[in-house]
Amino acid sequence: MDTASANDFDIRDYLRVELLPHFMCPGCGHGIALRALLWAVHDLKLAKDRLAIVSGIGCSGRVGAYIDANTFHVTHGRPLAFATGLALARPDLEVIVITGDGDCLAIGGNHLIHACRRNLHLTCLMFNNEIYGMTGGQVSPTTADDRLTTTTPYGNAEPSFDACALAAAAGASFVGRGMTLQTVALKNLIRDAISHRGFSFVEVISDCTEIFGRKNDLGSSPEMILRQKGSMKPDTYGNVVDRPFRPNAVQTGVLARNDRPEYGDAYRAAVLGAAGAAVAG
């Protein structure tokens, strides 16, 4: 598939331009993640009428409001629950969830594991910025060791979740991780996740420049996004080059994939089968 020459993609075709500039802080990675999503939608030639975005609460969840499609901005932690109902009732829609690390793994953690287990055709994009950005910077389940947040003023002592490992263990049939620095790769990953029939989980490494960045003295916005490169696990480099990057190596790309039965189909077969049997009997 082409990447660099996608000249026909004008992001404004997919945005509620009258709402721009968006509310996000300068340099916030969520804007780049939004571009990757809309670009993937464009690549897939998905009609906007068929697209349903369900988002939770957080800076990540607010992103959904700028998309010119069917959008649902629901309660904190519950986008997967709403999306499940929507996808079951309207299998003709392509349902995509936008959630944050707090929304998805803290308050919404239970919904996540059961969505993974069920394997309903949904795509869940979790924008991971290691913090509760919207509420001013509290610790989240993905905050790394020793990081400073408003609720860990002496450094975070809790071990963090590896969201992708969690999703894979809970049964998600497509699991991937991408970062905003690699916009094109991220777009391709999201495109593949949407195309996958079943529950797809994508973790997007994003930067909260204004709160996480400031608290932890991570430098300016460009310095922060460049740090993603340092945290990436290089698969093409030799040992000498990648050694300095080892401690916080993060693997990107498709991390797990299988083609087990999709829940919507199974559900409809069971329910319609039973209803048919009841009518016949």
């Binding site: 996000m24 300068p26 780049i32 460049l226």
Partner: protein, 298 residues
């Protein structure tokens, strides 16, 4: 004190600002004045903490009879904003036709809204110019009340400057306002408050609409690889985060004095699109319409 003006429908005045500016003082003066005039008054206030700066507001409703203490959306006859962006935040409370907007143009900018962390950097907070906003509301006054107050020797009387501006929009006599004001401010500041009140009043009476400023959109031809591309910048969306500037492999972008991106070396730009992809605010678009697909494409 007597007022002929006794409308059956209550008059709604919404006063907004951030903590510590004296929103409540302005609403107290107004409410007491209405009470003295024998009108029924209801006042309700909230001093909550929004995420980005503490937002404070006060609803004042007065008339022959007033039932609800709250002003509904689009029902404020007059809105007084002690802080510019707070005024914009509440703008949808103002009556669409005939509502009067009175605001201090000074911004109290929360640190999170800075475009750039360099010393002296400009913020991206409430970028619309006062002229644009006044044009939008139709009936409005945007004055630099804080600077006027500072000129009188005490920045803290900016609220009284706005009170003076408000007084021109209501049917109470100047002496009535000053009488209530005298009773509410600390005795030491009576004199400066009186002068601030008159300064605001006179400002509105001598008001001249400032000239409009239009925001420009720029599309510049670029030619780094010998082809005919264009790079389009939507200035109004750029937040000056500096990502494109630092990530451009050819170093052709810079932030200008307003901390907005500018293509300063179009001859070097190869239309690689990195800036477009990494801009979190969709402020850059690279157009390669007239070019054959680059080698990368397949």
């Amino acid at each position: 004190m007597n007022v002929e003006h006794r409308p059956a429908v209550p008059t709604n005045v919404l006063i907004v600002g951030v903590g510590g500016q004296g929103v409540i003082m302005v609403s107290k003066v107004l409410a007491s004045l209405c009470q003295q005039a024998g009108l029924e008054v209801k006042q309700s206030e909230v001093h909550g903490m929004a995420k980005r700066g503490g937002s404070v507001f006060s609803h004042v409703r007065f008339g022959e009879t007033v039932l609800s203490p709250m002003i509904a959306h689009g029902e404020a006859d007059i809105m007084v904003a002690l802080e510019w962006a707070e005024g914009l935040r509440w703008l949808d409370y103002l009556k669409r036709d005939g509502g009067t907007f009175i605001a201090d143009t000074q911004q109290i900018v929360p640190p999170v809204s800075f475009r750039n962390r360099r010393r002296g950097a400009r913020s991206g907070y409430a970028p619309a110019t006062p002229a644009e906003v006044i044009d939008l509301v139709g009936n409005g006054f945007a004055l630099d009340a804080t600077r006027m107050a500072a000129g009188l020797g005490n920045e803290r009387v900016a609220n009284t400057v706005l009170l003076g501006a408000l007084s021109t929009a209501l049917p109470f006599p100047r002496e009535g306002w000053l009488g209530v004001l005298d009773g509410l401010v600390p005795p030491k500041t009576t004199e400066v408050n009186r002068r601030a009140f008159d300064a605001g009043r006179e400002w509105v009476q001598n008001f001249d609409r400032p000239a409009e400023q239009a925001a420009a959109a720029v599309a510049v031809p670029v030619s780094g690889d010998g082809l005919d591309h264009r790079l389009e910048i939507t200035e109004a969306w750029c937040k000056g985060c500096d990502i494109c500037v630092k990530m451009c492999p050819e170093r052709c972008l810079t932030l200008n004095a307003r901390h907005i991106v500018e293509l300063t070396d179009p001859a070097a730009c190869t239309a690689c699109r990195l800036c477009e992809w990494l801009c979190p605010d969709f402020a850059i678009r690279v157009l390669t319409a007239s070019a054959p697909a680059p080698a990368l494409a397949k």
